[in-house]
Subunit: 166 residues, 2 copies
């Protein structure tokens, strides 16, 4: 019950409710885990509008507005696509903050250039450029998903904490 990631989600919720910030999620390799963790906390509907699980490239393009040429040029697992996912979900769901996560959870799908555990997390906010970070997790599929979700919630919390109180 005392999942530390749910406790982290509770801190994000308090930060967002205190500043009247709304959030949306765009998840590829985490597959919905971020939204699941955020909604474990009672009252999440006060700031979380929703999200998109964009497992296929077509969903990234059609539901999040990730440009086809960005996908073609950089591949789905890239800083550019993470940013486009974060920007896209924030615009489409009309929120203050958006987070985008794309990576290779494993055990399959890795390559020399993009190995298992490579994950990009981007946070998009109004009035400033998106921030993106690159991670290389050493775990198995479930561990890499959780590490990526923790990074996503942490980056949202950092961005929310910097925001002026509404």
């Amino acid at each position: 019950m005392a999942d530390p990631l749910v406790e982290l989600a509770g801190r994000l919720q308090a930060a967002c409710l205190g500043r009247s910030l709304t959030v949306a999620t765009a998840e590829s390799c985490t597959g919905g885990l971020v939204a699941h963790l955020l909604t474990e906390v009672p009252g999440a509907s006060g700031y979380l509008r929703g999200g998109v699980v964009a497992y296929s490239d077509a969903v990234k393009r059609d539901q999040l507005g990730v440009p086809a040429d960005v996908l073609a040029a950089h591949g789905a697992v890239s800083a550019q696509v993470a940013i486009a996912m974060a920007d896209g979900v924030r615009a489409r769901l009309g929120t203050d903050l958006g987070v985008g996560i794309t990576g290779v959870a494993g055990p399959d799908g890795g390559s020399e250039a993009k190995p298992v555990g490579l994950v990009y997390v981007a946070v998009s906010a109004a009035g400033g450029p998106a921030e993106v970070r690159r991670f290389l997790w050493p775990g198995d599929r479930a561990e890499n998903k959780r590490a990526s979700a923790e990074a996503a919630i942490t980056m949202l919390l950092e961005r929310a904490s910097r925001a002026t109180r509404g």
Copy 2:
């Protein structure tokens, strides 16, 4: 590690891959848990295209095409909205099967007519009417989310198992 719901997700994956069926999820009260469980199984990208976490009514309307008059007439927690979510995500993501889940996870948000634990799960498939079931779970928020996710994956598995092999 041996989460029985992930094992259930593995059975759904095998049924869908064996029949060349694709799946999309539309989650309200489960908040992404269904997609998270499906993507715990390696190879999920072979049949799961993605999903929408529709926590707010606006996201149900704008991202899933749930008609505003259906939301107004029946409320977000209703069989009609569960069906519209399942139909909507299947149409928008272009999949063979869609699942919609809407309910009151608790501890807040319940009423006499729609108490905590009331959940509707609908499965939409091409070439037939959607199927919807009503549940009244007795647990806390996390337990109600898990029970709803189990019902959703079970209904998808039943529907996939009835499908003609592709």
